[in-house]
């Protein structure tokens, strides 16, 4: 369910062009595409499907264009749109072929590590891959909440809005997700036979 958007309170501290003009669709795209891409991957969308998923998200954004204001809660709203599109995508994937999980990797969709210090990008890539691996132990509901809370650092209220639930459900899913993720991390450490 898409929730009605509120206009942001005017805040003179915000260093945006004044008078504040509405962002164009392209500005919204530029500002949000990266985090949507990152989270689509975290949610388990394969490289060969990521364009399709993100296009669907932006078609929804375009339809709701007059409701997007580029405030911090727009981030939660956009991530909520992403969650719904990813759920639909996974559902249709299961319908088409329940065993279709062979990724076709497009070099252009791989993360861009240029312009970073090698150790920094390695640390990030390694951490992202590890977390990805642990997240696979969670079911979709817990995975969504964990990503939004621990990686995107949204508030319980924002997560409730994005997932179409309420804050107490968010808290209970998050508690369960932490336990399961920590267990997955422990299993990983044990199988690796070393400390991280």
């Amino acid at each position: 369910m898409l929730l009605p958007r509120r206009l942001p309170p005017s805040n003179p501290e915000v260093p945006l062009a004044a008078p504040r003009s509405r962002p164009t669709f392209e500005e919204i795209y530029d500002a949000h595409v990266e985090q949507l891409w990152r989270n689509a991957r975290r949610l388990g969308v394969q490289d060969d499907a990521i364009d399709d998923v993100l296009q669907q998200v932006f078609l929804v954004v375009h339809r709701r264009f007059d409701q997007v204001t580029m405030t911090s809660s727009d981030r939660a709203w956009l991530l909520g749109v992403l969650l719904r599109v990813v759920r639909d995508h996974k559902r249709s994937l299961r319908r088409k072929s329940p065993h279709r999980f062979i990724a076709i990797t497009d070099p252009e969709t791989l993360p861009d590590e240029r312009g970073r210090q090698p150790d920094e990008s390695l640390a990030r890539a390694e951490a992202a891959a590890l977390v990805q691996c642990w997240l696979e132990a969670l079911d979709d509901d817990k995975r969504e909440v964990f990503i939004l809370a621990e990686l995107e650092q949204l508030s319980a209220r924002e997560i409730a809005e994005a997932t179409g639930t309420n804050p107490s459900t968010v808290y209970s899913r998050l508690r369960a997700a932490r336990i399961e993720l920590e267990a997955a991390a422990a299993r990983y450490r044990k199988s690796e036979g070393r400390r991280l």
Binding site: Q56, F65, D106, A127, E182, A185
Partner: protein, 222 residues
């Protein structure tokens, strides 16, 4: 369990993963072109129909959309063509990877690029979907849509077949399928399962409403 109850190691991995990976700039541009093309196509075909819902559907965006569509009669295609699409300027390793290849018509003032790391070579070697394909796709689907609105379902079907043959997995393939379903519903050859499958997998597509409308009023083969 609270965040603090996670082990220090897990917390550290999460902290690093939070910073995230970077989306490749070329991927961003390519995706943006595809998104804008789909929006322009969907918007102009919807607005052209003079549907009462059009204004409400697009609201403040209509102006942007029309601006995209009005830049040249090709709409999204022309719009995309004026965007910086520099396939020949970027592949740093083109000369290294394919020295025998006919040189790309690069502007003469572009300096020979510095040797790129292997990873970049792989990326630049891959043929990207050129913007002109998108322009051609848009043009074909526009023509199909016009024919359909003029009641010439035969011509519309021919354009759509043409699109399917030339761009089987083109950026606008979902829009083609939608138009094909609309044609099939109008001439009474639609298959209910196909329609349902499209509506289930493209629930968010701007075309879904049109398919639903076109296919609601007519009998559909079961």
């Amino acid at each position: 369990m609270s965040y603090e109850d996670l082990t220090g190691e897990t917390q550290e991995v999460l902290r690093r993963a939070r910073l995230g990976e970077s989306m490749p700039a070329r991927h961003k541009r390519r995706l943006k072109s595809a998104v804008l093309a789909r929006i322009a196509l969907a918007s102009t075909t919807t607005l052209a129909a003079g549907q009462a819902t059009a204004a409400g559907l697009f609201g403040a965006a209509a102006k942007t959309v029309m601006a995209i569509a009005i830049v040249g009669s090709l709409g999204a295609g022309s719009y995309l063509a004026i965007r910086p699409v520099r396939h020949h300027a970027e592949p740093a390793a083109r000369a290294v990877v394919a020295p025998a290849e006919k040189p790309a018509p690069a502007p003469p003032n572009i300096e020979p690029p510095a040797p790129a790391p292997l990873r970049h070579r792989v990326i630049s070697h891959r043929a990207p979907r050129p913007a002109r394909d998108l322009a051609a796709e848009t043009k074909l689907l526009r023509a199909a849509d016009r024919a359909l609105r003029d009641g010439d379902t035969e011509a519309a079907a021919a354009r759509l077949d043409d699109h399917a043959a030339r761009f089987p997995s083109g950026a606008l393939a979902p829009e083609r399928t939608a138009e094909q379903l609309i044609v099939a519903c109008e001439v009474g050859t639609a298959d209910r399962a196909h329609v349902d499958r499209f509506l289930a997998t493209h629930a968010t597509s701007p075309f879904a409403a049109r398919v639903r409308r076109a296919c609601a009023a007519v009998s559909i083969n079961r």
